[in-house]
C-alpha cells in the first residue's frame, strides 16, 4: 500500500509500540503533525522547548527501560535537542530523536531553518541517519530503535527532509534488523569469567564498584545475589544509585568526589575491585595515579571501549552485565569456597563498618536556617523511599544522592555524565508519563530549575502530577562551594539576587505553589505539597552557606577527603 512518508512515520511508530512522543511542531514536520492528528495509537505531548522534549524522552526511558521518543522540526528545533542528546549519550540512555529537515534539494543551500543536524549531532549520538528516500524511512526507524536500545544503549537521531515526508512509498517495516557492522557482545567469555572468580576469591579486601550499566542491563537482582553469596561490599556510582539497595548492610553508598568516607576508603584499600557496568569516570577515580593502588581490577562492560580507557584492568570481560553476573553466581553460589571466603573477608567488612561509623554522611543541624540535607531526609521519610527521584545538577543533585536511600533501580534519574542543569523537571515529567501510578519528585536547585521551568506548562496541560522541591539557597551552590573552598570566597557570578517568587510562578503556570522558610515547617509543607493534586512546586529556603561533604578536591586522591 502506498503511503506518504508522514503516514509511514506514524504507522511505524505504532508498529514499533511507541505509546508516546514528546515533541514540538514546525514547518519541516508539518506533514507528520497532519498525520498524527488523524491517528489514535500514538500520543503526542507538546513540550515548551525542544530541550525539554528530549529530557522527557530520556526520563521516560530511564524510569521505564523503554526507548524514549522525541520529534522536533529542522534548524533551531533540531539544534535545541543537542544538549538532550549529549546528556543521553553520556549516560547511555535509549532515546530516538526525529528531526525534520529542509527539502532534499535545498540541503546545503542555507535554506530557512536549515541546520546540518546529522553533522552537529554525530559526536553526541550512538548513530544517526539522514533519510534520503521515502521507501527507506520505515527500515531506518526500525534500525534506529534497535541501535538505541541494544548493546550499550544510547541516543539515535533520524533526520527527515520535508519532501521525503511528503512523497509516497510502500510501507515496508522489516521484521528483523541486520546490520553487519553492529553485533554487540552479550555473552561474557566463560574462561574470563572463571579467571575473574578465581581472582576475586584470591583476595581478602574485595569491593564491588557498580555503575549505571547494572540498571541498563536490568541486573540488580543478580548483583544482589552475587554480593550476598560472597558478602561483597558494594559501592555504586551516581548512575548506579538504586542498582543495589541503599539500606542493605553491604551497601557503602556512593563513591567518588562526594562519595561516602567508607566507600572511598574501601576502594582505596581494597585488593580486588569488581567493576560492573561502570567506566572509571574522573569524578569517581579522583587522581588516577592514586586510584586503588593495591587493587587488581576485574571489569565487566558491554562496551569494549570502556575497558582499559582510564585505568589498567587485570581481567576484562566484555558482555552483558546480567549474563556475566549470572555466570559468576553459578560458579560460587553454595560452594564451600564461598563460605571460606566470607570468613576470610570478615575482618575487612569490619574495617569498612568502622569507617562508616567514624565518618557517616552527616551535617550540622541548625535551628535557624533550613538545612538542604534535612529536606532530602524528610522527602525520603515522607515517601518511604518509594518515590522516583529526578534531580537537577549541582549541590541539589549530590544531596539527593547522599540523603535519600534508593532501594530499587530506575528510581534515581540524574544527568551524571554531562551534568546538565535543567534536566530534572522535564525528566521527572517523562518518568511520570511512563509510570503514571508512581510518585515522582524532582529535587531541584533555584539555578537549575530556571533552565527548563517552562515545562511546568507541559505538566499543567497534561495534568502530570510531578512534585518539584526547590532547595533554594539563592545561589549557584556548587560553583559557589568551589569558590568558597578554592578561590578565597570570591563568589564571582554565583549569587542569584533576582530569583522569581516560585510560589507565584507556579500559580501563574496553573500549578500549585508551597513554601517553607523555617525548619519546623518542612515536614508539613512537604506533606501538603505531595498530597496536592497535579503538578506542585515547593520552594524551600535553605541555608546558602551549606556545602556538600565529603569532598575530594579535583585532582586529589580519593582518600584526601574534606569532611564535615
Amino acid at each position: 500500500m502506498q503511503m506518504t512518508g508522514a503516514e509511514i512515520f506514524v504507522k511505524a511508530l505504532a508498529d514499533l509500540e511507541v505509546d508516546v512522543v514528546f515533541g514540538y511542531p514546525g514547518g519541516a514536520t508539518i506533514h507528520i503533525y497532519d498525520a498524527l492528528f488523524r491517528n489514535v495509537k500514538v500520543r503526542h505531548m507538546l513540550c515548551r522547548h525542544e530541550q525539554g522534549a528530549v529530557h522527557m524522552a530520556d526520563g521516560y526511558a530511564r524510569a521505564s527501560g523503554r526507548t524514549g521518543v522525541c520529534l522536533v522540526t529542522s534548524g533551531p528545533g533540531a539544534t535545541n535537542t543537542v544538549t538532550g542528546l549529549a546528556t543521553a549519550y553520556m549516560d547511555s540512555i535509549p532515546v530516538v530523536v526525529f528531526t525534520g529537515q529542509v527539502p532534499t534539494l535545498l540541503i546545503g543551500n542555507d535554506a530557512f531553518q536549515e541546520a546540518d543536524i546529522v553533522g552537529i549531532s554525530r559526536p553526541c549520538t550512538k548513530h544517526n541517519y539522514l533519510v534520503k528516500e521515502t521507501k527507506d524511512l520505515a527500515r531506518i526507524m526500525k534500525e534506529a530503535f534497535y541501535i538505541a536500545s541494544t548493546g550499550r544503549p544510547g541516543p539515535v537521531l533520524v533526520d527527515m527532509p520535508k519532501d521525503v515526508l511528503a512523497a509516497s512509498a510502500r510501507y515496508d517495516l522489516p521484521k528483523e534488523v541486520s546490520l553487519r557492522g553492529y553485533r554487540p557482545t552479550y555473552e561474557g567469555h566463560q574462561r574470563q569469567v572463571e579467571s575473574a572468580v578465581r581472582l576475586l576469591l584470591s583476595g581478602e579486601r574485595p569491593v564491588v564498584y557498580a555503575g549505571g550499566g547494572v540498571i541498563l542491563s536490568n541486573a540488580s537482582g543478580e548483583l544482589a545475589e552475587l554480593s550476598h553469596a560472597l558478602s561483597l561490599p558494594v559501592t555504586t556510582t551516581l548512575m548506579g544509585m538504586g542498582a543495589f539497595p541503599g539500606s542493605d548492610p553491604l551497601s557503602l553508598g556512593m563513591l567518588g568526589m562526594h562519595g561516602t568516607y567508607a566507600a572511598n576508603m574501601a576502594i582505596s584499600n581494597s585488593d580486588v575491585i569488581l567493576a560492573v557496568g561502570a567506566r572509571f569516570d574522573d569524578r569517581v577515580t579522583g587522581k588516577i595515579s592514586e586510584f586503588a593502588p593495591h587493587a587488581k581490577i576485574i571489569h565487566i562492560d558491554i562496551d569494549p571501549t570502556s575497558i582499559q580507557k582510564n585505568v589498567r584492568v587485570d581481567i576484562p570481560i566484555v558482555g552483558d552485565v546480567k549474563d556475566v553476573l549470572r555466570k559468576m553466581i553459578k560458579l560460587v553460589k553454595g560452594k564451600k569456597e564461598a563460605t571460606a571466603y566470607q570468613g576470610k573477608t570478615a575482618a575487612w567488612r569490619g574495617q569498612i563498618v568502622s569507617w562508616a561509623k567514624t565518618h557517616p554522611l552527616t551535617y550540622k543541624p541548625s535551628k535557624g536556617k533550613i538545612k538542604p540535607q534535612y529536606v532530602v531526609e524528610q522527602i525520603h521519610k515522607l515517601t518511604k523511599g518509594k518515590a522516583i527521584v529526578a534531580t537537577e545538577v549541582g549541590q541539589n543533585q549530590m544531596w539527593a544522592a547522599q540523603f535519600y536511600s534508593y532501594e530499587q533501580p530506575r528510581t534515581f534519574l540524574s544527568s551524571g555524565g554531562l551534568g546538565t542543569m535543567g534536566y530534572g523537571l522535564p525528566a521527572a515529567i517523562g518518568a511520570q508519563v511512563a509510570m503514571p501510578g508512581r510518585l515522582v519528585v524532582d529535587i531541584a536547585g533555584d539555578g537549575s530549575i530556571q533552565m527548563n521551568i517552562q515545562e511546568l506548562a507541559t505538566a499543567v496541560q497534561y495534568r502530570i502530577p510531578v512534585k518539584v522541591v526547590i532547595l533554594n539557597n539563592g545561589s549557584l551552590g556548587m560553583v559557589r562551594q568551589w569558590q568558597e573552598l578554592f578561590f578565597e570566597g570570591k563568589y564571582s557570578q554565583t549569587c542569584l539576587p533576582h530569583i522569581p517568587d516560585f510560589v507565584k510562578l507556579a500559580e501563574a503556570y496553573g500549578a500549585k505553589g508551597f513554601r517553607a522558610e523555617k525548619t519546623e515547617q518542612v515536614p508539613e509543607v512537604l506533606r501538603k505539597g505531595f498530597a496536592a493534586d497535579g503538578p506542585v512546586l515547593i520552594d524551600v529556603i535553605t541555608d546558602p552557606g551549606e556545602m556538600v561533604y565529603p569532598m575530594v578536591p579535583a585532582g586529589a586522591g580519593l582518600t584526601e577527603m574534606l569532611l564535615v
Partner: protein, 158 residues
C-alpha cells in the same frame, strides 16, 4: 609508535566524517588516510596511518569497531605487509639538472608524466623509505610541488 590500520566500511555517505570525527574528537592524530571502493562496491577500505602509545591505539581500534558502518578493523602492526604510496613531484629541470633528474627517475624506476620548458612532473610509487629517499635526492634540483596519496597496505601471502 606508528600504526597502519586498515578499516573496511559500508560504502555510504558520511562514513568518512564519522571516522575522521572520531580521531579529531578524541585528540588522536591522523598522519595519512586513503579511501576507495573494494571489489565489493558496497564496501570501502580506508587505510589510516596514525601514531600513539599502546593505550591510545587500543582505544582507536575499539572506537573504530564501535562505529556502526565499520565492518572490520585490522591493525597491520607486526603483520607482514606490502605497502605502497604514490607520489607526484614537480621538479625543476634546467641545464645540468635535467640529466640528474632523468638519472634519478631511472634509478628509482619512476616515470616522467608531464614535461614543461623548465620542469618535469614525475610519478613514483614505493614504500615509505623509497619515497623519502627519492624526494631527498630530488631536493637539490628544486622541488616545486609534491602530492602524495598516503600509504596503502595489503598483507602478504594467503
Amino acid at each position: 609508535m606508528r600504526h597502519t590500520i586498515s578499516v573496511l566500511v559500508e560504502n555510504e555517505f558520511g562514513v568518512l566524517s564519522r571516522v575522521s570525527g572520531l580521531f579529531s574528537g578524541r585528540g588522536f592524530n591522523i598522519e595519512s588516510l586513503c579511501v576507495a571502493e573494494t571489489m565489493d562496491p558496497q564496501v570501502s577500505r580506508m587505510t589510516i596511518v596514525t601514531s600513539g602509545n599502546d593505550q591510545i591505539v587500543e582505544q582507536i581500534l575499539k572506537q573504530l569497531n564501535k562505529l556502526i558502518p565499520v565492518l572490520k578493523v585490522i591493525d597491520f602492526t607486526g603483520v607482514d605487509t606490502v605497502d605502497r604510496e604514490l607520489v607526484l613531484v614537480k621538479v625543476n629541470a634546467e641545464g645540468d639538472g635535467k640529466q640528474e633528474v632523468l638519472r634519478l627517475v631511472d634509478i628509482f624506476r619512476a616515470r616522467i608524466v608531464d614535461v614543461a620548458p623548465r620542469c618535469y612532473t614525475i610519478e613514483m610509487t614505493g614504500g615509505e623509505g623509497k619515497v623519502t629517499a627519492f624526494l631527498q635526492m630530488l631536493r637539490p634540483m628544486g622541488i616545486r610541488e609534491v602530492v602524495r596519496t598516503g600509504k596503502i597496505a595489503i598483507s602478504r601471502g594467503m
